[in-house]
């Protein structure tokens, strides 16, 4: 058993080394994605049959904008062993993918490309092109990025006196500058309360500071099944009383998680919400 495994690994190292040399020039034949965000970009950009597997998170409605479409691909749990057995020419991951998995795959001679989570629309467009290029589908990537940029440019301008919004998630975390959620509400014509209290991209905002900041709108994260103490803060009586006063609220969904063309759907919904707020108030 042990001897055969060593032989397999050695064979893999040799085969992988040979494969790596040729992979960089031509389009990779078999691509595996092990990160939710690269999953969805690859699903949209890959040639038929090119994408072999996506991560199991891609089928999770709560975090994946393309959960339905992901049913067409086999899923993986981002573990080196199963990925290696899929014999990929290219593995797409996120910069937050477990380093041990990435280095194991690289030791086995597999080409692994990591993308940082997109925090802006500019980065999103760049990543669409990047994934297109990595898949050898430059034209498809370029077309999608252009469509993304065109739709973004067509949104109405930000109002002179934007309504103030607070983003609030489990454990009292909020998103500020440098986060995708901040980019979404800003482009939709809101001002982020996190700016006023000088919070970083993600920081803790005490509930009393949130309420005393008096935002026009509180956007909370969706709660998951299985209760948790972390999410209890989203049901705090003080927050409920405050939301009852402002009579407006919104919940982030899968469109807010990754930088994708679908992210602009979230911007569009927030613009509609702002317009209805302005009409009402």
């Amino acid at each position: 058993m042990r001897a055969s495994r060593i032989v397999a690994v050695l064979a893999a190292l040799l085969a992988g080394a040979a494969g790596a040399a040729s992979a960089s020039d031509e389009a990779p034949g078999r691509v595996v994605s092990i990160n939710l965000c690269t999953d969805q970009l690859a699903m949209m950009l890959a040639a038929p049959g090119q994408l072999v597997s996506v991560s199991y998170l891609a089928r999770d409605r709560r975090s994946a904008a393309m959960a339905e479409a992901a049913r067409d691909w086999p899923v993986n749990r981002s573990r080196a062993e199963e990925i290696y057995l899929l014999e990929p020419d290219l593995v797409l991951g996120g910069t937050w993918t477990t380093p041990a998995t990435v280095s194991m795959l690289r030791r086995l001679g597999i080409r692994v490309e990591l993308l940082a989570p997109a925090g802006t629309f500019e980065e999103t467009a760049r990543q669409i092109r990047e994934v297109g290029r990595l898949l050898g589908r430059d034209a498809a990537g370029e077309a999608m990025a252009r469509a993304f940029e065109a739709r973004l440019a067509a949104f109405p301008p930000v109002p002179a006196d934007p309504p103030r919004v607070a983003l609030y998630a489990a454990n009292g975390l909020t998103s500020g500058r440098g986060s995708l959620a901040d980019e979404i509400i800003r482009r939709a014509g809101f001002r982020n309360v996190a700016d006023e209290v000088n919070l970083p991209a993600t920081g803790r905002l005490a509930l009393e500071r949130l309420i005393l900041a008096e935002p026009d709108l509180v956007v909370t994260s969706r709660t998951y099944p299985g209760q948790s103490q972390s999410e209890a803060i989203l049901d705090h009586p003080a927050l409920e009383a405050y939301r009852a006063r402002t009579a407006a609220g919104a919940i982030t969904d899968a469109d807010w998680v990754c930088g994708l063309p679908q992210t602009l759907d979230a911007v569009e919904r927030m613009i509609d919400l702002r317009l209805s707020l302005e009409a009402g108030g």
Binding site: A170, E231, H236, A238, Y242
Partner: protein, 327 residues
């Protein structure tokens, strides 16, 4: 000396309570915030009544429960190292609370959370009494405590690992360290009835604990039923510590530090130490909870971390003092 103690604690508690209400991350002037508690002042009143008031009340309730439970267990076991956090009672209560929350029981049935935490704590206390026994040495007590803590911690981690909720894993810190951040009046109402029962049970133990200082035979000769004393202790400690842990997580060392400091002031009589430790525990947790907001206001410093920094050196000191017995 002994007369001064009730006066000192009686003066300290209202002061700390007011300070706890006046201090918060929002940095509103204290006069204005205290006034908003009684007089309608828009959002500030909402903040004071729904966020700061429950926090201050819970600090008192949790502190009193832990101080009282520490004094009662130390009196019964005649061992200054018996402390709910150290001997695994808080840990097993946390396990019960985690199971209640992550199975959805707490959401489906309001009393599910405190009841399961109480059950966990009761199992913890019963195991300790069974393993260490009334004549148990410090060594058996501490070893039994380590084993129960480790087991409860392992099952808590397992329950959180298996939870479908993505935040579950990060909650291990809360259940091991405890915090009073952003608790609500709901938590106060859930915990209060259980704590009140626990306090009442433990406070009836005064005479029995005094008699026990003369030894078990003497206590029985005085007409004490040791079985009844033991049962009262198990349920009293379980109800108070279980409810405290269910709403604030496992906060250690309160039951160790407070009776230790107050013992000389009450003439080392367990019956008088009980009430004094309840008041002292309330004062200590209030003070510690003010400190976590003053030291690192934006960093979510956990209450249990601060208590451990204060309490662990004292624990070492006590072990050093009793090391002859332990060795």
């Amino acid at each position: 000396m002994t007369r001064a103690l009730p006066l000192a604690l009686g003066a300290l508690l209202p002061l700390l309570f007011a300070a706890s209400l006046a201090i918060g991350p929002a940095g509103v002037p204290w006069g204005q915030s205290l006034a908003a508690l009684v007089r309608e002042d828009g959002l500030l009143t909402l903040v004071m009544r729904e966020i700061r008031l429950p926090r201050a009340l819970l600090a008192i309730m949790v502190g009193a429960s832990l101080g009282l439970a520490g004094a009662a267990m130390q009196g019964y076991l005649r061992n200054p190292l018996a402390e709910p956090g150290l001997i695994g009672v808080s840990g097993s209560a946390a396990l019960g609370a985690v199971i209640a929350i992550h199975t959805g029981l707490a959401a489906a049935f309001t009393l599910g959370l405190p009841l399961l935490a109480l059950a966990g704590a009761a199992i913890g206390v019963a195991l300790i009494l069974f393993l260490a026994g009334p004549r148990g040495s410090s060594l058996t007590l501490i070893l039994a405590g380590i084993a129960i803590s480790a087991l409860a911690g392992a099952f808590t981690s397992l329950a959180l690992n298996l939870s479908p909720n993505p935040f579950a894993a990060s909650e291990i810190v809360f259940w091991m360290m405890g915090s009073l951040d952003d608790r609500s009046m709901t938590h106060v109402w859930i915990a209060l009835p259980f704590m009140a029962v626990g306090w009442a049970l433990m406070l009836t133990l005064g005479r029995a604990l005094d008699a026990l200082t003369l030894g078990e035979d003497a206590a029985e000769a005085l007409g004490m039923s040791l079985t009844r004393v033991r049962l009262t202790l198990v349920f009293g400690v379980a109800a108070a510590v279980g409810a405290a842990t269910a709403v604030a997580g496992a906060i250690g060392f309160v039951g160790l530090v407070v009776p230790h400091i107050l013992r000389p002031f009450v003439g080392a009589r367990p019956s008088r130490l009980l009430l004094a430790s309840a008041a002292g525990g309330a004062a200590l947790v209030l003070a510690a909870d003010i400190a976590v907001r003053l030291i690192l206001p934006d960093r979510d410093l956990k209450l249990g971390v601060l208590m451990a920094i204060v309490g662990a050196p004292l624990f070492l000191h006590l072990i050093y003092k009793t090391r002859k017995e332990v060795a």
